[in-house]
């Protein structure tokens, strides 16, 4: 069987799997960005209780393996009466795991905003919430986007794991086709290529565009 025949027969299945992968990616991306923002700010709170919650959350999710968290969400939560669909469990586990890493990036980004900005906002008598929302947050994007871009590529790679909790994504389809046809080189090779193309020619250019946009917003042209 030539490679062309293989694509002819299984290409559509793989593409359908790719659509699911993109869905998982987009959903977990939104979730992780929101979580990182919230917990990154909580981590900097002066209230020890709030700060403690954020620290425990971050250490817990960074300390255990994503696969363990995924299986826990899918196979163990039902023991507590919470049955999540495979897709939901996957997105939630990915979002929580990457949110912990993202929160650290957000924290570092906020700390990297020059002190003078805080002082100026203080001097102009902005309320604390306004200070964060209008002065600090807009300035952290050029700082946090490069590391966040790396993390997002890692997220795309990590979405492959949801196949192991029966989400029918690209990895799942590749595995399925492999077990039917045993054309391992073709199906896993194609899957690798699709992931590579998604990362290199779609996700990374998109994130670079965001970086340029963020730099322009604060008046720093990106060279």
């Amino acid at each position: 069987m030539t490679y062309f025949e293989f694509l002819n027969e299984h290409g559509v299945t793989l593409l359908l799997g790719t659509v699911t992968t993109v869905k998982v990616l987009v959903c977990s991306m939104i979730l992780y960005v929101v979580i990182s923002m919230i917990f990154g700010l909580m981590r900097l709170s002066k209230n020890l209780f709030i700060q403690g919650i954020a620290t425990v959350y971050i250490e817990f999710f960074r300390g255990t393996s994503l696969l363990v968290q995924l299986f826990w969400a899918y196979y163990v939560l039902p023991f507590f009466g919470i049955s999540l669909e495979a897709f939901t469990a996957g997105v939630v586990a990915l979002g929580l795991n990457f949110g912990a890493y993202g929160a650290e990036i957000v924290r570092a980004g906020i700390l990297a905003v020059p002190r003078g900005q805080w002082e100026a906002a203080h001097a102009l008598n902005f309320t604390p919430s306004k200070r964060i929302k209008r002065i600090i947050i807009p300035q952290i994007f050029p700082i946090i986007l490069p590391p966040a871009a790396n993390l997002t590529v890692e997220l795309l790679k990590a979405t492959a794991l949801v196949a192991l909790v029966t989400v029918v994504d690209l990895t799942f389809e590749a595995k399925q086709i492999n077990s039917i046809t045993w054309l391992s080189a073709q199906c896993f090779g194609t899957a690798l290529l699709i992931y590579y193309i998604m990362a290199r020619f779609a996700l990374v250019p998109f994130l670079r565009w965001l970086e340029v946009l963020a730099a322009r917003k604060v008046g720093k042209e990106k060279i």
Partner: protein
């Protein structure tokens, strides 16, 4: 089926999990050792004067870095036998982890080498040291401390990615938990124990890396002054 946590079951499976933990640590250690060496080769490819080799090296690194470890594992495990190379799951797993994280480590090495000031090289030129001598006695001793935090981070990273090995049948911690869980139809205790073991091993490791990072920063600050 009982819904809550069962201590008797947890204690019953604990010895099995402990043995599997040893395998996990072994897998992480061996994978890391391979990755350290592979990283050196990628670094060499990056620093050779030949533009073509540089380009090929960069493309390979980019490809490995932007595709999931899971599928790379499947690829190595299922495709190599079709070319007449039959390796055990352990060997496949170690090779794949070594290759995957080798690309990351080569970046750590590169950053560390670039972290050594250019003037050091110039001084060595002026003193007529050979390239080998310059690397061995001047550059590497300064680059190594810079690389330590990154290297430590990837050790923890590999440790946390070892559960993926269970998908091709390496009998590590996660594999044991899945087997025990499937046999008894109880996943609560096995997976929770896995999580706790991971936490108790990786949080101290991460703290140790952070301390190393601080020490390195401090030592460098002293050199600068």
């Amino acid at each position: 089926m009982e819904m809550g946590w069962r201590w008797d079951f947890a204690i019953e499976i604990l010895p099995k999990m402990a043995v599997a933990t040893f395998n996990t640590i072994l897998a992480a250690g061996v994978g890391y050792a391979i990755a350290l060496v592979v990283g050196l080769f990628f670094l060499l490819g990056q620093r050779t004067p030949s533009k073509i080799i540089n380009w090929i090296n960069r493309e390979i690194v980019e490809f490995i870095r932007s595709t999931p470890l899971l599928i790379q594992l499947f690829f190595v495990y299922f495709v190599l036998p079709q070319f007449g190379i039959t390796l055990s799951a352990w060997v496949c797993g170690m090779i794949t982890i070594g290759l995957h994280f080798g690309t990351y480590l080569s970046e750590v090495y590169r950053g560390a080498l670039e972290g050594v000031s250019k003037t050091q090289w110039e001084a060595c030129r002026a003193l007529n040291f050979s390239t080998l001598y310059t690397y061995r006695r001047i550059v590497l001793p300064q680059a190594f401390p810079i690389a330590i935090p990154g290297m430590g981070n990837y050790l923890v990273g590999i440790f946390k990615d070892t559960p993926l090995l269970s998908t091709i049948g390496v009998a590590e911690l996660f594999h044991a938990a899945t087997a025990v869980g499937g046999y008894n139809y109880r996943y609560l205790e096995p997976y929770t124990i896995v999580g706790v073991i991971f936490l108790t091993l990786s949080i101290p490791a991460a703290m140790w890396v952070r301390k190393l990072e601080k020490d390195v920063n401090k030592a460098q600050g002293k050199i600068k002054k």
